[in-house]
Symmetry: C2
Subunit: 338 residues, 2 copies
Amino acid sequence: MSLNTQWRLIARPEGEVGREHFEVTHLALPEPGPGEVRVRNLYLLIPPSMRLWMNAKETYFPPQPLGEVMTGITLGVVESSRDPSLVPGDYVNGLGGCQEWSIAPAGHLQKLAPRPGVPLAAYRSVLDVQGLTAYCGLTEIGKPKAGETLVVTAAAGSVGSLACQIGKKLGLKVVGIAGGPEKCAWLRDECGIEHVIDYKHDDVAARLDVLCPDGIDIAYENVGGPVMDMLIERLRFKGRVVLCGLVSSYNGGVTQNTASLMTLVNKAARMEGFLVSEYLHRYEDVVGILQDWAAEGSLKYQIEVLDGLDSIVEAIGRVFHGKNRGVQLVKICDERSV
Amino acid sequence: MSLNTQWRLIARPEGEVGREHFEVTHLALPEPGPGEVRVRNLYLLIPPSMRLWMNAKETYFPPQPLGEVMTGITLGVVESSRDPSLVPGDYVNGLGGCQEWSIAPAGHLQKLAPRPGVPLAAYRSVLDVQGLTAYCGLTEIGKPKAGETLVVTAAAGSVGSLACQIGKKLGLKVVGIAGGPEKCAWLRDECGIEHVIDYKHDDVAARLDVLCPDGIDIAYENVGGPVMDMLIERLRFKGRVVLCGLVSSYNGGVTQNTASLMTLVNKAARMEGFLVSEYLHRYEDVVGILQDWAAEGSLKYQIEVLDGLDSIVEAIGRVFHGKNRGVQLVKICDERSV
């Protein structure tokens, strides 16, 4: 095998992530020890929160140590195994890092059973933690009742577009907020979300007033900032804000209007953080539902793949600037070439 | 009887409330109709939220109509009754307005049974909705477990000081944040809250780090703004923010750092608005507990009374600037003179 190309974080970005925050090394990979396997990483997921891991401040991931291989959520194929539970050719999900190969205990990997017609990359994105996030965030924190009004921000994003579609399947009136006519058209025409607001071109407050004349029961919030204030101000009595992420704040400097939060008091409303790690016990059951929908074609998603580890910085930048359509991945190695 | 002096809101204040926002009228009071009583108002409560009722925007009270007698939470004594449930001399709580006398259906009033040694004004403040707010906000939204850490803002205020003391009685470690050495000393020496932070003179963040080394389980929040950001940033896993009020925002212009709210996500924490009207079914039971504590002297409170309806503007100003010690009332008429 070749030398292992690895991307190491060597400096913490203040704002934008750049090539200068990484060092690329090429080192020989050790052989797997007993109980371990060697995995050829195929896909690297680029979630919005990846930027947060680079900060010194602890999030739900410990801060990325400087000088180490950057943490990465990967899908790969087993090349050699010293554990009976996995054999070469098995597809696995794991935390393989931003590198070509990884060594991991077999118990840290999750074996996949890809179905025909569903792209492999979906198993490290929508049919994985993102799907679990959308489904459990909406159902467990949002506690939806059929007929209620759900507003989703970053609605054309990977989690957002799933939350919209799951909301519709649960009988909710769904309003999606996304940036730009292309994303809005995809949500409306592909995903079947009739009520879409383009925050870059529409008067969001006015459109919300038209689309949610009786207010908002559930806000599925991925963004934060002024639009979140507008949603909170329109909460109905006992409304719920599912706080799934606040991507607008990840580079700092964004604020909420404290007066808007008074709506939480006036409406006895609840804003609650959703941490997918609290719902891993529901993984099999929920991802099973999503796989069924994906296989039958009733769950739509977009996957955007950039080619090669060299595109990491560009991929992170695309996610921050909302340029990605749906979930962003980096293809580390083509699955047909292994 | 004399003409009824009434304070009517005639303009909505933008920031501070001033005399110019009111018109004072002197009109004859009609006689009570069947089922109604005439009440001589004795005490008027000045809650921080009173400023909010003056805005055009709906809160948990409908906006105060211009030209009408300003809404007021009052304690009074029945002077004449056309309902068998109340007789002259009965003390009652009600929404008697900012005026000397009021006419109300007997069913809208709550008959009191004052105990010896407990001042009458306490029955329209700490042993009333404020006590219910402190108790139910802490227990129903905060869901405290003995040994947890509770931080209370506006801790020397009427609700805050009760929340601190109830927290201690429930076995919590309590940290109170208040403004100025006098309030802090009262909290510490009178109410027995050992851990007190003076936000006007202390480095609040540094003191929180010392007093809550393992973080905060429950923040009982009355204020909002930068201190609330500090509390949210220090929430423990599954922490709770009881959002009881956001007094710093009532005059506008205050913001929260959106990045701080990410702690709600990272810690799977919850921020929930508390609306006392949702807990009126617990009134008898909770106020009974508080009355027992007050009568035995184990529940401390401060009541500040300004004399006469002419002091309304000053009283509202004192509450906004945090100059009041404990609960602020206006004495409309001396109870010994009726």
